[in-house]
Point group: C2
């Protein structure tokens, strides 16, 4: 949106009586529109000033499935976009019990002491209002939640992974525009959500435990492949020897993978989030990473590639849902599947027929 | 197509003078149509009688990108479908040099001695007329190529993997209708072609060499996961000890994988295709497999699931190509990608805009 348009929208938002030329209904609509525009502009202003209440309300608009809220959200995102992108986005994953919340509490508090503003988001498509979710229980981050420079938001709920992903990506933009310069995105090691978080972050951190085999930890090989760092948590007390052994083992395993496009060699770190040990090491590593990928151009390149990926992903998802939700297609699909089952048509003939309908 | 229609089409094909009511142009069209219908019916008849020339011509129609040929191919496939499905479809993969051609020559000849009719197809999206392809060089299967009960066809060329896959699947139907009861589908360990062949076969066989590490053999872990059998080829002469060691190792590795939906436990076999050793063992194993999956219902279930997979795959591919090949979309996509690059729009806003065009 250009300066010009913004200005005219502003002047429109001053309250004027409806002219005699418009019906009462139209006048009401115009008043509502002006009022909404005005409140959106207020919201955007608050957001850009770093107001956490405004940020929270903005994300609520993004998460809403109401048409009018979506329009408002679009306005906010458009206004936020030029002010975003100044952050580092860090994905954090690990199986339940590995200590993600404790790690984020410790890591986030450390960053705030260093003068950073830290936003914590989550991607958990299994979450729903009734069933609770990761980050839903803010008491698990007792200290962080009270910090002025921390913003914590549970996963948007009751939606498909695609929907959660879109909402989280848009929320990142608002957080960045509100001045948060470290964005932590938590996810659980379930289904496709790790791949999704990987494709919206700059640095992907895998939390592990010492002493538990890969099978026990339920970590898929693909996740290790995506990781920029493996951080072995709970490396304290009796666990220390096992943690050091695990570090050696992971270092050996990581050498088998081909060099990443970022030219970054994934590192293995030990930490004890509970005792705040090794936390500064993790941040130092991520700072090294940032410096390296800024220098070799991968940082910007990767963000652009991620944006393109999401463009195509969004289009392809929509094309499919538009097609399969067509009522004619829905009905005929059942019939064609039956014909296939009876060996009376081929998959290709059935596809061709269905495609002729919509 | 019903019996009735077939009959009337037949009688139409007798040559009659064009009636005075139709133009010379229309009359020509009708004559051509009648002639084509007639030749298609001849072709289908030949095909169902097991005539290899008819089968070859049918597959040529499937492989053609001409509209009129496609119509003829559809007629053939429709007529073939009720007579297909009586075979076992075996996918065979392995890196270049592992001896796929020698294995197929030896295995195919063995099956023919056992009274089977063997069709050999290939899926190789990298092949093209000028560059040769797997199976393109039939001299590598000197014996098999001369057998009355063998039919060998190189990969359709000059097409995307999606196109090759469709053509191969349709060719399988014609081969089966022509009475071929063992269909071997060869592919190379490149890109997605193994996954593609896996999704059109009943049994997936991975050929390996003894003594070469996984890295050297360039086998991705996902391929081992798909395999119903690992056959270690060239287990002869000095190689025998290494082959036995490799068998132990693979057996150990296979135990780590979860049970397959088919309830079949993948086996590791040794063979020497060159010296025709271990070949009967491989067939015995596949017969055991077939018996087991016939009994537990997986065979039919899997074929149905594969058909459904191809239905959705075909539709989704087409939806995408229809969208991205739209001239308005093409042009605007460039502009939106530029806006994304300049950080002037989000991936989602760009997607929404593009979707409004087509």
């Amino acid at each position: 949106m250009s300066k010009q348009q913004q200005k005219s929208a502003l002047s429109e938002s001053e309250s004027k009586p409806a002219s005699g030329n418009v019906s009462a209904e139209s006048a009401k609509k115009i008043r509502n529109f002006r009022k909404n525009r005005s409140s959106e502009k207020e919201l955007l202003k608050g957001l850009l000033e770093g107001n956490k209440t405004a940020l929270g309300r903005g994300i609520t608009l993004i998460e809403s499935n109401q048409k009018s809220h979506q329009k408002q959200a679009e306005f906010l995102i458009e206004g936020a976009l030029p002010h975003a992108q100044k952050s580092i986005r860090i994905g954090i994953t690990g199986v339940p019990g590995v200590g993600k919340s404790t790690f984020i509490e410790s890591f986030g508090s450390y960053l705030i002491e260093k003068g950073k503003k830290v936003a914590v988001l989550a991607v958990d498509p299994s979450s729903s209002v009734s069933h609770g979710s990761i980050l839903g229980d803010k008491t698990r981050m007792e200290k962080l939640v009270t910090e002025k420079n921390a913003f914590i938001r549970p996963s948007p709920s009751g939606d498909s992974l695609g929907g959660v992903a879109r909402k989280t990506r848009e929320s990142i933009i608002l957080c960045e525009a509100a001045g948060f310069d470290v964005i932590l995105i938590e996810t659980v090691g379930v289904g496709q959500s790790e791949t999704t978080v990987h494709s919206m972050t700059d640095f992907f951190l895998l939390l592990k435990l010492a002493g538990a085999g890969d099978e026990l930890q339920g970590i898929k090989r693909g996740i290790v492949e995506m990781a920029d760092a493996i951080v072995i948590n709970k490396a304290d007390g009796d666990n220390q020897k096992a943690a050091r052994d695990a570090k050696l083992e992971f270092n050996r395993a990581l050498q088998l993978y081909p060099l990443k496009e970022s030219a970054w060699k994934p590192e293995v770190k030990l930490c004890s989030a509970l005792y705040h040990e090794g936390i500064s090491d993790v941040w130092e590593m991520i700072s090294d990473f940032k410096e390296k990928v800024d220098e070799n151009g991968f940082f910007q390149h990767n963000r652009l590639e991620q944006n393109k990926f999401w463009l195509y992903q969004t289009i392809n998802d929509y094309l499919k849902s538009r097609f399969y939700e067509d009522s004619k297609v829905k009905e005929e699909l059942k019939r064609q599947l039956q014909l296939i089952e009876n060996n009376e048509t081929t998959a290709f003939a059935a596809a061709k027929h269905l495609l002729s309908l919509a």
